[in-house]
Symmetry: C2
Subunit: 296 residues, 2 copies
DNA sequence: ATGACCTGATCGAAATTTGTCATGTGCCGA
DNA sequence: TCGGCACATGACAAATTTCGATCAGGTCAT
């Protein structure tokens, strides 16, 4: 009965495909989706059989997807977007209100952007005001009640029970391949800002240990730090996504940095039904995909 | 395991939903889809259960769909459109060429329009030139090789083996509720045009029988005929889709008109790979939905 | 080279989903 | 009130999907 003619795509299969790309591999995707590895492998296999064409290239070194696969992914993304929006629209209860939301630079180009865009479309009566600041600043604004909620970075061990975990990421000391960390004397440190909590951690640790860090560069955007590292100005604390092939991770001489977590943290303010909905949509997305992905 | 939370739509279910609307009922949809009535009923039921909301209203008199159902249909249409396009794009082989296509007025606002639009998108290298004419004119153009193919109306008994049947439709004599068909003397006839084959049939039949038709109104567009009928100018031959509640179907005194068929008819010209592809896509659509639907 | 190790493919068995047949129910027109 | 029609429902069979276990192929550090 599985005629070649009877070709159809299933939402599930497309979602799997999408997860495979975004998590980079079948095994990882299966974990995120809460399925066994073989189930995911089978699903893709079936998809390939029913379409009578290869989707994953299985060639080491090459891109994981074939041209047809990339093509299909493109459609998958659009179809899934519509699908999820359709689901949400069914449960929508005309909400109105105002949300003041904080974001970090890093989260502006993740799935969050997609979710926010969809939220606006589904709930035009809600005005969403967004501010992009550094995590420490956002936390302070939350405390002062200037924001209803914010997506901030915190150290993994600082996640509160009320936080909603979006994803984790590793933090690394990095340097240029040519740059040599001085055995003695101060280590040149490239820092985001006064308000960067990486830096706070680094300086604290340095004091405890027998390490001297000298902040030789400050820039509040990641692009600047990346450039400074590549130029060999010193060492910096960067999260995984900013690593470049020409950067080297420093493991000796410097203390191991803690893991990072991206969380949605709400202010302690009174009820905000619009925010409740937005947060619910985010949680929904997380449970569906087993966390959000960094790459948009 | 079938949690309420695990909400997802399946392409199949959406397609069923769509068929239910376009064929006007579960039983009809099941025939078109080649499934049993209970299968369709079950599918919709499952969809409702998994979404935890009603989709069909089941109230006699009211619209078949609930508000949520209408909402969902809207998304279904978009999702299915993307889905089908994705499938086609996987098999596409960059084709180029030129197609000269004829359409009747009636087919411009059916699924054909959607298919043509998609075809243009998928094959930008193919130039599609479309002419809208009356069926008889199109047939003549086909004969003369001025068109590569045309979607024309023919009487059901005139369908050729090489034609691709899109859908059938009934033809009726209609009049205004107030208008009385004269027992004797000529019957005032509202005709499309000289080139209208309804009219040719009517006049032929009239000659054979003992009936006199007098063409009192001519207009090449359906809207004009409809208006003339409503104004009580006479009787006309109209296909089902143009019937209006205030029109009366005349069954006595006039001969029963034959059924109509809409077909794709190709010219006898040489190979045209672009046209082959377009025709294949149309056939594909037909087999998937069990014929095309009239309403866009 | 070798062995630990990771990723994905494959197989049989179990669980779940989906479709069919047979039958029940409610509504409408004669 | 009786068929007839359109849909709902239940039981069951068929198909699909998933899982656990195992296997094959590759990478990497020694």
């Amino acid at each position: 009965m599985s005629e070649l003619n009877n070709r159809r795509l299933e939402i599930d299969a497309l979602r799997v495909l999408w997860a495979v790309r975004n998590h980079g591999g079948i095994t990882r995707a299966s974990e995120a989706l809460g399925l066994s590895q073989s189930a995911v492998s089978h699903k893709i296999k079936r998809l390939e059989t029913s379409l009578d064409c290869d989707i994953l290239s299985r060639k080491p070194g090459a891109s994981m997807f074939t041209a047809a696969g990339e093509d299909l992914l493109d459609y998958a993304e659009r179809i899934l977007g519509l699908h999820d929006e359709a689901l949400l629209s069914l449960t929508k209860t005309a909400i109105a209100g105002r949300i003041s939301l904080g974001l970090t630079e890093d989260t502006t180009c993740t799935d969050l952007a997609r979710i926010l865009g969809r939220f606006r479309r589904l709930h035009p009566q809600v005005s969403v005001r967004t501010k992009v600041r550094m995590s420490l600043v956002l936390r302070a604004m939350l405390e002062r009640g200037e924001l209803d909620a914010a997506i901030v970075q915190v150290f993994a061990h600082e996640v509160r029970p009320t936080d909603i975990l979006l994803f984790r990421e590793k933090l690394h000391w990095v340097r240029n391949g040519d740059f040599v960390v001085p055995q003695e004397g101060p280590v040149p440190f490239l820092s985001f800002d006064d308000a960067c909590f990486y830096r706070t951690w680094a300086l604290d640790i340095a004091q405890d240990g027998d390490l001297l860090l000298e902040t030789v560069f400050e820039c509040s955007s990641a692009a600047g730090i990346v450039a400074a590292v590549i130029s060999g100005l010193g060492v910096a604390l960067l999260n995984e996504r900013h690593l470049r092939p020409d950067m080297v991770i420093v493991t000796r001489q410097l203390p191991v940095p803690p893991d990072l977590a991206y969380v949605v943290r709400r202010s302690r303010k009174v009820r905000n039904p619009a925010l409740d909905t937005l947060v619910a949509e985010i949680e929904n997305e997380i449970s569906r995909y087993g966390g959000l992905t960094l790459a948009s």
